[in-house]
C-alpha cells in the first residue's frame, strides 16, 4: 500500500456529494444517470466527481458497451476505516486505560476500612 494512498482517499472523501455517491454504490453498482438523480447537478458536474473517485481508486467504471456502470472498490475505504477506527478508539481506549490505572493507584484508600487485619 502506497504511503500516499490514504491522503488521496481522504481528499476524495472531502466532499459530501462524493460521500453520498459512495454510499449509494455500497448498495450496488449503477449507471451515472442514476447516480446523478438525487443531486441538483449537471452530468458534467457528476462526471467531475466520478473522475476524482476513480483516480483515488474508490470506484471503477465497467466497460459494457451500452453503459459504463460504476462500481465501488472497497480497499481504499477499508484502509480509511482502519485508520479512522484508530482515532475513534484513541481517546476511548486512553480513557479505558486511565480508568484502570486510577483503580490501581487508589487502592490504598485514605479512608480506613471498618476492620483491618494487622500484618
Amino acid at each position: 500500500m502506497a504511503i500516499d494512498s490514504l491522503s488521496s482517499t481522504f481528499s476524495a472523501l472531502a466532499d459530501p456529494t462524493r460521500r453520498a455517491i459512495l454510499a449509494r454504490l455500497s448498495k450496488g453498482e449503477t449507471s451515472v444517470t442514476e447516480l446523478a438523480e438525487p443531486f441538483a447537478m449537471s452530468m458534467p458536474g457528476i462526471s467531475k466527481h466520478l473522475k476524482v473517485l476513480e483516480k483515488a481508486g474508490l470506484i471503477e467504471r465497467g466497460r459494457e458497451a451500452q453503459w459504463r456502470p460504476c462500481r465501488l472498490q472497497a480497499k481504499p475505504l477499508k484502509e480509511i476505516a482502519d485508520w479512522t477506527s484508530q482515532y475513534k478508539k484513541f481517546w476511548e481506549e486512553s480513557f479505558d486505560r486511565l480508568e484502570e490505572y486510577l483503580k490501581t493507584i487508589q487502592k490504598p484508600d485514605a479512608k480506613p476500612p471498618a476492620r483491618k487485619r494487622k500484618k
Partner: protein, 317 residues
C-alpha cells in the same frame, strides 16, 4: 460508593459554549437535531414533530449496523429556552422507558444543560445505564457540543466526556505528573520514555513511544496552559528522533499539530468529569482540516459499520 441523589435517577450535566437560544434550537428544530441526536454512528429521520405539551415527536434512529429504532417522544412541559419534560423510548403500544426533565440556564454566554432521567426503580436505572454505555449513548452530548461549535464558529472539533471515580486533584495530576501519564497515555503494549519534560505553560515535552517489533515513535507536547485545579491545554505533534516536526507515517495530510483542551469538572468528592476537546491547531492547512473532518465524519457516520455490508457485497461479486 458515593450515594447518588436518588438511585432511580440518571443525571447528566453539561456546559455548552453557546447562548441558551442556540442550544434550545439545536434540541427542538428537526433539521438541527438530526445533525447530532444519538450515539456516534447513528442518524435519525424525523417523521413528525409537535413541540407542545401533549404533542409528540415521531422519529426513527438508524444504527450504524443498519438496525432501525422507531421512537415516539411525548412532551409534557415545553418552556422555551428553559425546560423540557418528556417521555422517551415509547412507540405505539410500547410504553415509554423513562421520563426526562431537561433544564437550560445561561450564565455569561454559556449554557448549562441538566438532564434527569427518572426510572421506576434503581434496578431499572442500572439497566438503563448499562444500555446507554453499550450504545455509547453519552456521546450524544459530545455530538451536541461539536455541532454547536461548528454552528457558531465554523470550527470542527472532536469532543469526548467521561466521568472517573477519582477526586479533581487526582485527575489534575493524571495530566501533569509524568509519573502518572506515562502509565495510561501510551497504547497497550507501548512504553513512554521522556527525553525532555517541562510541564509548565510554555514548556515542552519530548518523548518516545516504544512498541512491539522495535517500533519507535516520537512526539512533542507544548503546554499552553496549566491552570490548577481544572484546565490543561497543550499541542501535540509527531516528530523524528531529533525532535524535528514529522508526519504520521500512514497519513501525510493528517494535521501536523493537534490542540488538546482538557477541562475537569467536579461532580462529587470522588467523581470528576473530564471533557477533552481535540482539533487541528490554528495554522492548519485546508487539506489538513479536511483530513481531520473526514476522519471525524468517519467516526460519526459509522463507516466501519457499513463495511459488513460492503464485505458481503464484494464477496458476492
Amino acid at each position: 460508593m458515593s450515594a447518588k441523589n436518588k438511585s432511580n435517577e440518571i443525571r447528566i450535566s453539561r456546559v455548552y459554549d453557546a447562548p441558551v437560544s442556540a442550544v434550545w434550537d439545536a434540541w427542538t428544530d428537526p433539521k438541527q437535531v438530526a445533525q447530532w441526536w444519538g450515539p456516534r454512528g447513528f442518524t435519525i429521520t424525523t417523521h413528525s414533530k409537535d413541540l407542545r405539551p401533549g404533542g409528540h415527536w415521531n422519529y426513527t434512529m438508524h444504527g450504524p449496523d443498519g438496525t432501525d429504532y422507531p421512537n415516539t417522544t411525548q412532551y409534557f412541559e415545553v418552556e422555551k429556552n428553559a425546560k423540557l419534560v418528556y417521555d422517551h423510548g415509547g412507540h405505539e403500544d410500547k410504553p415509554a422507558l423513562f421520563r426526562v426533565t431537561v433544564l437550560f440556564s445561561e450564565v455569561k454566554g454559556k449554557t448549562k444543560m441538566e438532564m434527569t432521567m427518572t426510572l421506576p426503580t434503581p434496578e431499572k436505572a442500572e439497566e438503563t445505564r448499562a444500555i446507554i454505555k453499550k450504545f455509547g449513548g453519552n456521546s450524544t452530548w459530545d455530538r451536541l457540543a461539536e455541532y454547536l461549535e461548528k454552528e457558531s464558529t465554523g470550527k470542527e472539533e472532536f469532543v469526548i466526556n467521561r466521568t472517573f471515580d477519582a477526586p479533581l486533584a487526582t485527575m489534575f495530576q493524571m495530566w501533569t505528573d509524568p509519573k502518572h501519564f506515562s502509565r495510561w497515555l501510551p497504547p497497550t503494549g507501548f512504553t513512554m520514555q521522556f527525553i525532555r519534560c517541562e510541564i509548565r505553560p510554555g514548556g515542552e515535552g519530548f518523548y518516545a513511544m516504544s512498541g512491539p517489533n522495535n517500533m519507535k515513535m516520537y512526539g512533542k507536547v507544548n503546554y499552553i496552559k496549566i491552570e490548577k485545579p481544572d484546565t490543561i491545554v497543550y499541542t501535540q505533534q509527531f516528530s523524528d528522533e531529533h525532535g524535528n516536526l514529522a508526519r504520521h507515517p500512514m497519513a501525510p495530510t493528517w494535521p501536523a499539530t493537534m490542540l488538546t483542551v482538557v477541562k475537569l469538572t467536579e461532580e462529587g468528592p470522588d467523581q470528576t468529569r473530564v471533557t477533552v476537546t481535540w482539533e487541528p491547531y490554528e495554522g492548519a492547512t485546508r487539506e489538513e482540516i479536511d483530513t481531520f473532518i473526514n476522519a471525524r465524519s468517519g467516526m460519526t457516520q459509522g463507516w466501519t459499520g457499513s463495511f459488513d455490508k460492503l464485505d458481503a457485497y464484494i464477496a458476492s461479486h
